[in-house]
């Protein structure tokens, strides 16, 4: 599993990094911490000239270095697992518009990449997720800045809508008591079930599995899939509840559930939920939900 975490200079990012570290501790995930610089470096730039002319790059690098250390502080054996990240780093120029923090010493069993990109936040997050082959993108949101994100930021909506993988929008420092999963149960992937499993463990929360019904009730294949998912979680001693929601009431239900619970919505192309749950609704949910939102793909 590879997790991409978008961070910025908002102190809330530190909270997001710690949350991801806890999930990574259980999953042994490879992790990329990504910072976006808003001003693109001059044409034909290289690391030496940039270091001399642009102090903001070093500010970003120091910020990223600090988040990297905070991430490693959550592990007892961080050096063994992710390699040393406490020492002095070196800025290394990668492909176009990308810088990496490089640490001397033996690499760990898993990967912790610290990277800086320049340009539009959402565009660069999506580009990095594609380059890294991320399974999950995590973006934070400072509750004090809600409903808006950092000024002029289009990050959450575009990332949520256009990411090829799952996206977790972390909203509040309050622990969700319940993870409400609206899954398209006939096509649900094992990876997404495992991800929910990890979040349930991480938050020590209960789980509610929502089956969406239509005029004919619950589809037979969905019914059977829900029973198997219920079996999967209960056999792992996870308190899993089921509930049926009529497709016409789904938006109301999710809006209510998102006030206090982490809502997970499945939106793959094969999913009938993606037909019920439009891109606009998904954007609204990511922005307006009181609690964290997980968009599963």
């Amino acid at each position: 599993m590879r997790i991409l975490v978008a961070v910025n200079n908002d102190p809330y990012s530190a909270y997001v990094v710690r949350q991801v570290a806890k999930v990574a501790r259980n999953t042994w995930a490879d992790v990329t911490l990504l910072c976006i610089g808003d001003q693109a470096p001059p044409k034909g730039w290289d690391i030496d000239t940039l270091s001399k002319t642009d102090g903001s790059v070093h500010d970003l690098a120091n910020l990223l270095h600090s988040y990297g250390r905070q991430f490693c502080d959550c592990f007892e054996d961080a050096d063994l697992l992710y390699g040393p990240h406490a020492s002095e780093y070196q800025l290394v120029q990668g492909e176009k518009n990308v810088l990496s923090l490089d640490y001397p010493g033996k690499s760990g069993r898993k990967v912790l990449d610290l990277r800086i990109r320049f340009g539009s936040e959402s565009k660069e997050i999506l580009a990095e997720s594609a380059d890294a082959g991320a399974d999950l993108i995590v973006v934070g949101c400072n509750p004090e800045q809600r409903p808006g994100w950092p000024a002029n930021s289009d990050r959450p909506e575009k990332v949520v809508n256009n990411a090829p993988c799952s996206v977790l929008v972390i909203k509040e420092e309050k622990q969700p008591q319940m993870i409400v999963c609206c899954l398209d149960h006939d096509t649900v992937s094992q990876a997404s079930i495992e991800l929910i499993n990890q979040l349930v463990t991480h938050y020590n929360a209960e789980l509610e599995i929502i089956g969406v019904t239509d005029a004919h009730g619950l589809r037979v294949d969905v019914d059977r899939r829900m029973a198997r998912i219920l079996d999967y979680y209960t056999s792992r001693d996870i308190n899993a509840w089921v509930k049926l929601v009529d497709r016409h009431s789904l938006n109301t239900f999710i809006s209510q559930a998102a006030e206090k619970n982490l809502v997970a919505v499945w939106t793959s192309k094969q999913s009938f939920l993606s037909k019920i749950f439009s891109r606009q609704h998904l954007e609204d949910l990511a922005i307006s939900a009181e609690a964290s939102v997980l968009v599963l793909r």
């Binding site: 209960e206 089956g211 019904t213 619950l218 037979v220 019914d223 059977r224 829900m226 029973a227 219920l230 079996d231 209960t234 308190n239 899993a240 509840w241 089921v242 509930k243 049926l244 929601v245 009529d246 009431s249 239900f253």
Partner: protein
């Protein structure tokens, strides 16, 4: 011998019911039996009459028996009494009612996943099957691992009849119960609350249980009209037991509460 009937289909509700039955099997007095009803109208047009019809029905029973056997195997049903269900052909409601009356079952246990719309519970209780139900019902909405039961009474509840019915089904020995009264449900309380407290009816219920060797853990009161927030507090209970009239009114606060509660619900008819 006391008996409980579980209707089985190949669906989520039955999965929940079977697992829940296994979970409570050591606390329940009646022996658990299952039945699968095949409604010929759901399968297709009935061919001919006489031996042609009989042969078709026999084939239908055999294929259903095999499907249900595979389902029970997949569900890893442990209780031997549930491994070979009776297969009946006919209209579901009528067949189940006939079976309940003929075999004089003491409990009807059905798996029904809860819905977002609490009025669906009203529709369930007002279905022909439940309106004419000759015995108490246990609606398994979810699997709950807790072992404490909530006994809920309202102003009009006949506590003596309720406790007698409840203890007829459940072993008093080792029973962990909380008693919950519904107080001033239509009063000025805009937000419903569930807090420690008691009233005359709860005291009566408490004394009746003590007389039967059951010491309740807590006495609590719901104030205000039941809502989802209060109903969610019942997630800690493995079952919520209460009593009500057949065909309750849609605006009955007790029905509203039981409809919203995600835990299994046991109802004795008054």
């Amino acid at each position: 011998m006391k008996k409980a009937l579980i209707p089985v289909n190949i669906d989520l509700g039955s999965s929940i019911a079977l697992r829940y039955a296994d979970h409570i099997s050591d606390r329940i007095q009646p022996a658990l039996c299952d039945v699968h009803v095949v409604d010929p109208k759901q399968v297709g047009t009935q061919p001919g009459s006489g031996w042609v019809q009989k042969t078709w029905e026999n084939a239908l029973i055999e294929s259903s028996r095999e499907e249900i056997r595979q389902f029970l195997e997949m569900e890893q049903v442990k209780l031997p009494s549930l491994k070979s269900p009776k297969i009946i052909i006919g209209n579901r409601n009528d067949s189940l009612l006939d079976e309940l009356r003929l075999e004089q079952y003491d409990l009807f246990l059905e798996g029904v996943p809860p819905t977002f719309n609490p009025s669906d519970f009203f529709t369930l209780l007002n279905s022909k099957l439940y309106r004419m139900m000759p015995c108490p019902i246990l609606v398994a909405k979810n699997l709950v691992s807790s072992d404490t039961i909530a006994l809920v009474v309202e102003k009009e509840s006949d506590t003596q009849k309720f406790i007698s019915c409840f203890l007829n089904i459940f072993n008093a020995e080792g029973l962990k119960v909380d008693l919950i009264g519904m107080d001033r449900v239509k009063s000025e309380h805009p937000v419903a609350t569930l807090t420690d407290g008691s009233n005359a009816q709860l005291e009566e219920l408490n004394n009746l249980l003590i007389d039967n060797g059951v010491i309740p853990n807590a006495l609590r009161l719901i104030r205000g009209a039941p809502n989802d927030k209060v109903a969610d507090l019942f997630r800690e209970y493995s079952m919520v037991a209460s009593s009500m009239m057949h065909s309750p009114r849609k605006n009955d606060p007790l029905l509203e509460l039981l409809g919203r509660i995600p835990s299994p619900v046991f109802i004795c008819w008054q």
